[in-house]
């Protein structure tokens, strides 16, 4: 509850900060302060110290959702610290951008703690509308406008599907309810109406997490949006929707698992295949990262195939490892002169720190041991193997992971083994480099002791 309230309030604070000050750094520091506070109140929430408002069971706060929130907030904090300055280059309305970011955070806190389908819908909408605006925030750029429109049309279409799904589920439930824990009650067989509802929910959530074949908006929206906001969309937003996704299907329709899992399996396989294969053919690193985010979503979808304790821990770890690495790469990419692979040629000579940290991020995304990405993938795979079903999907997933090495390593090859004058637009500051090293160290830490993150958080819980 704390985080929903605070992020909404801070969003308004950010909006007004633009009225009271023209100083860009003051606005940025206000936002950073807000994020630190958000992180703090989420930890307090985890410890049981929360504002109690009677929400009539519409929201339900559990550790899973709150851990998801804290990962999202921490990633956003790192994101703002790394790339906050680059937001200034997008346009003049810096305060509004931050306000929108905070509204998105508000929406995602609802998505990770909904207890009725209405709240899920509300949360998704609160998240989506600011995202449409951010995508089109580079107003003079036609590509940005196009991306925004495309994203908006596709997004509202999928929202429509979701509403239809919710309506069908409501009608199919014996008592007429939106509460996810009551939905399955009293069902002895899978009625067509009910299954149709589940299917529509799957499709609309698939849209939001850019699962194939509902992914077509992703590359264009990610490519067209200003790169700073692509970074945010591809990481924090995506993984938080995943937390909601897992929650919905774990608690709402867990009992009918066998029925819908085949569909999810096919979607997962298609996502992995299309994401990885298409990423291979990209010339621009930004577009490659867009497809890589689709491919990574395919791996995260594996958690829906398992729905056990391991997969829940795994999706959180995945959220953390994937967000950190992708935010790091984007932070470097934003500062590059040239977004193509050739633009990275010889970066290791010009900027050894940037190249070394970027290598660690890429290795993590590829899932090489010693990085957080390995354990993220490991948890996903082992959760599915533990169920004993869908082994073909696991093998297919690792083969796709092997393909992903191709495009991630292309960047490493460009940085280290090819000659060129790839460089950043301006000399990165020591603070920026230090933060990158810190993030890289965090990823390595996650790769050696993956439980540290979760343990640390549970210790905070214990203290309260």
């Amino acid at each position: 509850m704390n985080s929903i309230l605070l992020s909404a309030i801070w969003g308004i604070v950010m909006m007004f900060s633009g009225v009271f000050t023209q100083s860009k750094s003051a606005i940025r520091y206000t936002a950073i302060l807000g994020l630190i506070l958000l992180l703090l109140v989420t930890c307090m929430d985890l410890g049981g110290c929360r504002v109690d408002i009677n929400v009539h069971k519409m929201l339900y706060f559990d550790t899973f959702g709150m851990l998801g929130n804290s990962i999202a907030f921490a990633s956003t904090l790192i994101y703002v610290l790394l790339s906050g300055r680059d937001m200034e280059k997008v346009g003049h309305n810096l305060a509004e951008y931050f306000a929108l970011v905070f509204f998105i955070l508000c929406g995602l806190s609802i998505v990770t703690s909904f207890n009725t389908l209405l709240m899920l819908f509300l949360g998704i909408e609160i998240m989506s509308i600011p995202l449409y605006i951010l995508t089109g925030s580079d107003k003079r750029n036609l590509k940005s406008n196009e991306a925004s429109l495309k994203y908006f049309l596709m997004g509202s279409f999928s929202t429509g599907l979701m509403l239809l799904g919710i309506a069908l589920l409501y009608g199919a439930s014996s008592t007429g309810t939106f509460f996810i824990d009551d939905l399955w009650a009293g069902k002895t067989s899978s009625e067509p109406l009910f299954m149709a509802g589940i299917l529509l929910m799957l499709v609309s959530m698939g849209f939001k997490v850019s699962a194939a074949p509902f992914h077509f908006w992703t590359p264009d929206a990610y490519d067209g949006a200003p790169t700073v906001f692509t970074s945010f969309m591809a990481t924090v937003v995506k993984v938080s929707i995943f937390v909601g996704f897992v929650r919905l299907f774990d608690e709402g329709f867990g009992a009918s698992k066998e029925k819908w899992q085949l569909f999810v399996a096919l979607v997962t396989a298609a996502t992995l295949f299309i994401g990885n294969i298409t990423a291979v053919f990209q010339q621009s690193v930004k577009r490659m990262l867009a497809y890589s985010s689709i491919a990574q979503a395919g791996f995260m979808l594996l958690s829906l195939m398992a729905l056990n304790q391991v997969s829940k821990e795994g999706i959180l770890l995945y959220a953390g490892a994937y967000s950190l690495a992708t935010i790091g790469i984007f932070a470097i990419l934003i500062r590059m002169k040239d977004y193509t692979f050739e633009g990275f040629n010889g970066l290791a000579k010009q900027q050894p720190v940037l190249a070394a940290t970027c290598t660690i991020f890429l290795l993590s995304l590829a899932g090489i041991p010693l990085t957080g990405g390995f354990f993220a993938k490991y948890y996903m795979l082992s959760s599915v193997v533990a169920t004993g079903h869908y082994l073909w999907l696991v093998i297919f997933a690792v083969l796709c992971a092997a393909v992903s090495v191709y495009y991630y390593f292309r960047v490493i090859q460009a940085m280290y083994f090819k000659d060129g004058d790839g460089s950043t637009e301006e000399q990165p500051s020591a603070g920026f480099k230090g933060l990158l090293v810190f993030v890289a160290a965090l990823i390595l830490l996650l790769g050696i002791f993956p439980q540290t993150l979760l343990d640390l958080l549970s210790k905070i819980v214990y203290i309260y």
């Binding site: 082992s382 092997a402 083994f417």
Partner: protein
């Protein structure tokens, strides 16, 4: 204690090595570190099997059932010793090679040594997987950075091949883990897990695990990465790859496949044996046609490793003893061959057999040492490889695990003859005959190379005449693993 030291010394010295920004300093530092490792390894050899010094155990990931368990058994000792012996020899032999930013080169070499040591000593499947990948990453950077003209493409092929294999292995490991009653990655738990699985399942897991090792060895038809990678890598790295790293594949089969899924091991033995046999002949024939020295040795290595794998699947005690000793021998011998190639390439700037000739007139010292190494490569009596290959063939011939033992022996025996053809032919064309304009200016071998080659020749002859200590080293593992494979179905 000793296994920990063997991993930590190269790891720490390697990490420090990145900071020594001087060519000579880095070179000396790497040699110092590798000699230190060798001393520790030799100290470990004498200890009894259950000495507490040979084992270490620490908490790592209790939630996943994985511990940091390392230990040295017979198999670990053989390969640990090989790793420890090879690195100082490599550093001495390539002392005069110069690299751009050599401190990075030497640091990465040491890191790959740490990874290799870890692979050979891990008693925990997840830890093993970690080291398996760790050994690969430094090699990837070594080859891509300092290799030949087509290095990026060649190394990339190598990386994708091995990475695909290891991911499949990871799935296999996770599957086995999910079948252990207490969800543990420990070696012991893996050895017991086949009691809970039927034959079909074991066969399936066998392939998941074995593919990774087959790629590493490599077994035909998964060998296509090898000649190119060997050719394009800097010679010091090629030495690591061929002398030590391919043994990871053989090692993996002995430690993680045969005793873990014996059902699958029996089931698919004939198919794999056929691939080995075919690969031996195929690689030997290709070796005859090669003009590039590096490619020739690469193909000859495929043939030799194929024989070891064939003997493994013959499931015979004699053959397995042969594998143990031959792993060491092959490492030493091929290292000797590479040293010579490196010398020739540095002096004359070419590795093409057709462009060389008559080196013996200019470099008699080199020629004598080379001929001994080459004869060992052909497995002539009195050399170490004779002992190994004799045991291997005896094992295959007397095997009761397959009904085709005679076929395997006869056909793979042909590869020995073919081996003599390409090795002797190479010596003749490179070292004897008349000098040409290129080789007329040749000079004899330098002291450091002479030392390295002489050490190898001494090892070749000593093991060739008195192989008993080496055979005893791996004995306990052979007995243990074989008793696990021969379980009652």
């Amino acid at each position: 204690m000793i296994p920990v030291l063997l991993i930590v010394i190269p790891l720490v010295t390697g990490l420090i090595g990145f900071l020594i920004k001087s060519d000579n300093g880095a070179r000396g530092w790497a040699l110092l570190s590798s000699v230190l490792t060798l001393i520790v390894a030799l100290a470990g050899l004498g200890l009894a099997k259950d000495s507490p010094l040979l084992h270490a155990d620490a908490q790592w990931l209790p939630e996943l059932g994985s511990r940091m368990t390392v230990g040295l058994d017979g198999l670990g000792k053989v390969l640990g010793l090989l790793t420890a012996v090879c690195f100082p020899l490599i550093f001495v032999a390539t002392w005069r090679d110069s690299y751009k930013k050599s401190w990075n080169f030497y640091a990465l070499m040491l890191l790959s040594q740490a990874g290799l040591m870890g692979v050979f000593m891990a008693y925990d499947a997840l830890l093993f997987y970690f080291f398996w990948e760790l050994a690969l990453i430094p090699v990837y950077f070594l080859c891509s950075q300092w290799g030949g003209e087509r290095r990026i493409a060649a190394t990339f092929k190598f990386f994708v091949y091995t990475f695909t294999g290891s991911l499949l292995m990871l799935v296999g490991i996770i599957w086995l883990w999910s079948r252990t009653p207490d969800h543990s990655f420990s070696l012991q738990a893996f050895y017991d897990v086949h009691n809970h699985m039927n034959g079909g399942e074991q066969g399936f897991i066998f392939w998941l695990l074995f593919l990774a090792f087959a790629i590493k060895m490599p077994i035909w038809p998964l060998h296509t990465w090898q000649p190119e990678t060997y050719e394009q890598s800097p010679t010091a790295t090629t030495m690591v790859l061929s002398a030590v790293m391919v043994k990871m594949g053989v090692f993996g089969v002995i430690r993680w496949v045969a005793p873990v899924v014996p059902g699958g091991f029996w089931q698919w033995g004939d198919l794999v044996s056929f691939c080995c046999m075919f690969g031996m002949i195929y690689a030997s024939l290709l070796a005859i046609k090669q003009d590039d020295l590096k490619r020739l040795i690469a193909y000859s290595s495929i043939a030799h490793i194929g024989l070891m794998c064939l003997a493994l699947f013959a499931i015979d005690k004699t053959g397995w003893q042969g594998v143990m000793i031959q792993m060491f021998n092959h490492g030493i011998n091929i290292l000797g061959m590479w040293i010579v190639v490196d010398l020739i390439e540095r002096q004359f700037g070419t590795r093409k057999i057709s462009e060389l000739g008559g080196i013996a007139q200019k470099a008699p010292g080199l020629t004598i040492l080379l001929v001994i190494v080459a004869l060992a490569n052909v497995a002539l009596p009195l050399t170490n490889a004779f002992v190994g290959e004799f045991l291997l063939f005896t094992g295959v011939f007397t095997s009761t695990a397959t009904q085709y033992n005679v076929v395997y022996t006869v056909i793979s025996g042909l590869s020995i003859i073919l081996g003599a053809v390409y090795t002797l032919n190479m010596i003749q064309r490179v070292f004897y005959g008349n000098t040409n304009t290129l080789t007329a200016q040749g000079t004899d071998i330098k002291l450091n190379e002479k030392l390295a080659l002489a050490a190898i020749v001494v090892l070749i002859l000593v093991i060739g005449v008195y192989p008993k200590p080496m055979l005893q080293l791996g004995q306990d593992t052979v007995d243990q693993v074989l008793s696990r494979i021969n379980y009652k179905l």
